[in-house]
Symmetry: C2
Subunit: 504 residues, 2 copies
Amino acid sequence: MPNTNSPLDELLEHTRETALLESTMALLEWDEHTGLPEQASEYRAQQLMLLSGLVHQRRTDPRMREWLDDCESSDKSRDPNSPVGTCIRCIRRDYERHVRLPESLVKEIAHATSMGQQAWVKAKRENDFASFAPRLHDIVRLRREEAALLTDGKAPLYDALLDQYEEGAESGTVRKVFEDLREALVPLIQSAVQGSSSHPSFQDGDFDVDSQREFSRWVAEKIGFDFSRGRLDETEHPFCTTLGPHDHRILTRYHPDSFSSGLLGVLHEAGHGMYEQGFDMDWFGTPVASAASLGVHESQSRLWENLVGLSEPFWEWCLPSARKWFPQLNSLSVDRAVTDLNRVRRSLIRIEADEVTYNLHILIRFELELELIENRLEVQDLPVAWGDKYQAYLGIRPGTDTEGVLQDVHWSAGLIGYFPTYTLGNIYSAQLFEAADRDLGGVDALVRQGEFAPLLEWLRKHIHGYGRRYEPMALIERATGQPISSVPLVKHLQRKVERQIRSN
Amino acid sequence: MPNTNSPLDELLEHTRETALLESTMALLEWDEHTGLPEQASEYRAQQLMLLSGLVHQRRTDPRMREWLDDCESSDKSRDPNSPVGTCIRCIRRDYERHVRLPESLVKEIAHATSMGQQAWVKAKRENDFASFAPRLHDIVRLRREEAALLTDGKAPLYDALLDQYEEGAESGTVRKVFEDLREALVPLIQSAVQGSSSHPSFQDGDFDVDSQREFSRWVAEKIGFDFSRGRLDETEHPFCTTLGPHDHRILTRYHPDSFSSGLLGVLHEAGHGMYEQGFDMDWFGTPVASAASLGVHESQSRLWENLVGLSEPFWEWCLPSARKWFPQLNSLSVDRAVTDLNRVRRSLIRIEADEVTYNLHILIRFELELELIENRLEVQDLPVAWGDKYQAYLGIRPGTDTEGVLQDVHWSAGLIGYFPTYTLGNIYSAQLFEAADRDLGGVDALVRQGEFAPLLEWLRKHIHGYGRRYEPMALIERATGQPISSVPLVKHLQRKVERQIRSN
């Protein structure tokens, strides 16, 4: 047993023990969102603060550096993408980030974002950007400071922020791919909107919430979410969380007047959940069994929500079953359902946007936050810049800041560099779907039969099982044989728009 | 600010921080019982083990002794029952218990009880006491060893065990009170069983579980359980837990074929929950806002379940409302309902026993475990001794050990000295009800109107608000003006039996 108590063992045991505390925090948070008694929030915050202090201590434990130094020097030829190599590489990377930032800055950021979110809630409610601007100015300044410490002047500041959500991604690459996407989307949306239908929606009705619960659970199980290792619960803002190697929880919400938002929400969260259920659990609590990036995570949710859930084959399979729960769908045709669910509209609000327009909302945010970090735009000028971009790309301009620059919580919470991962996820999802379609000899035929296992297996094999072993863009390239590209997404959206125009 | 960072401040802050971890463990356990995915148990056990290690470290932190020494010497005239005095007294008491036991013994006990429970499950299933006897023998030996270390030869061994569940209780006192109770109960049960009815039960039917959920929640709210600071959920083995000063969770289960077990279970757990909701929350995480003992806890659950929930005034109030949920109760009279719910039967199984016979089940267990600890009975002779006592007190003898000495999990889990707290709870509950009845000028009239607030307020004032400020028996004496006595319980049960005989 030459490895007993080796630095590697110590490092991994320490890391796995930290994960026990992190997953306990995840339970405290899950419970906070599934029915914490009204008056219990303050104590819950104290519990979380204590655990987060313990986790921080463990992440910055000076023994970490010794173990890492020992591991790195003991075998210099180790494959950095092997499981052990991945652990050492990623733990080193995370450790350096945690120790490089002085506690004073971390506290300043925590304070500024806490103030920022409070100010944002009020500013959004009162359509008062001016009251929020000084808070956002502070946040941008502090995150630039953070980025400067992290990059050591070796990379653009924005890259250091982006890198926290999308490991190894560079703003130059992202900007190029996003520009291609934008150039294709702007004209596509024009033709889509011109050819759009004005039929009333089949969803104008009352969809029993209990039936939605049962039906959504049934669908989640069918596509492959494993309920012996997971749960489906309800909450205000849907999410997915992992509390252990065999404990993946997805949360959604149902509206009696929108059948599809509940169902598509479950497909989205189940996509996230199935990703984490597909990790190599022998390595749970280490980077080998962690998400590659937010973009890759989003590619999994979007693949099931959009590429599968909004497709004609899916509704051919799903509609007959849906009618058992919802008799009001008896007279609805598959064609009508798919056309209805895929309607393209110019809209101001990101989270209400359809699949075709959605990415323009993201591109606008990406371009603006990049300008903020690169000091090419002042916070006070954001509302005008926002309106100009909406006018230029989507042909509409918000009448108020509430339905414009104040609509999202992200910047107020310090999340700069985060928005692009949504569109990266969409881009990856289309690349992955195209590659799976090729490898499996046609996914549509499988979906039409309700056979989802081959697609899930393909994703397990090419994405899930790798965890953080490859950086996200390298992982996508290995899985698809192609570097990151917006072409498959654009093709998919073009086909969608053509179908809509034909069908109306 | 002379107290800043005083030893007392440090001690209290340390104690409150430990409570943050303990309440986090309570959430991990609550979640384990409300729908943890099948495959998630093993990781959950690891999370709990890590936290329990952290809690143990904190409880035995050497700084605790220094702070306690400093606090004790700084003010020798401090009232030991004042809030601060209570903290110092109780924290010292708990600390000494935690440090007095060598880690090797603690581990041996943990191992023996883990083996014990596994062996018990199998032995109960296979009616094979002989296979369990060696495990129980080990457990008794280890707990005697523990007791010897804790008492320093200053008290009977059994008292050191009892004291862990019922602070300050002495086996001599308990034995005397229990003997009085037994002498009254044995003949009372004979006359009750002779006068018992053979009417079919109104509960032979189907009670919709969703309606039971709604109705039970409505009743819990009416009697005073505060849902803005609590929840009601479902689980296999009902319990109550506290996750924060404003987060009290009660759990129950419903059977479609027994309406009363669900309702009475909710009254029982709500009684526990309302006790903890009544602590002085400024002191949450300290002994001032902790339960006085298991017996006092049980007195609260039993008061609401038995003294209120099984009474005629309660059903006069409750039956008309129950009919809204359960139309099958339309033809049931209050008299019939109360008679039916209070049927007295000789039975072998403790948890199925009625209120009148229940305490004899406990007395038998108390007498036997006392003999085991005092070395007057060998484990191998338990089954015969068990049968003899059931024959002598209840007039029946179990045909198998499964329905005899193997029926309860407690001993296999090392819980010796725990059973008496059930009957102490019943005794306290009758004493408290009698005192409240006197102070409030008649509780029945209030209950008949659905006015539960005065009774709850009385309990808040005389019991809940004190936490551990007085030892349990002193607390009961302060609240009722009487030392512990079985007389009120016997009177209550006699009235109940007389009513049953009249009604049949």
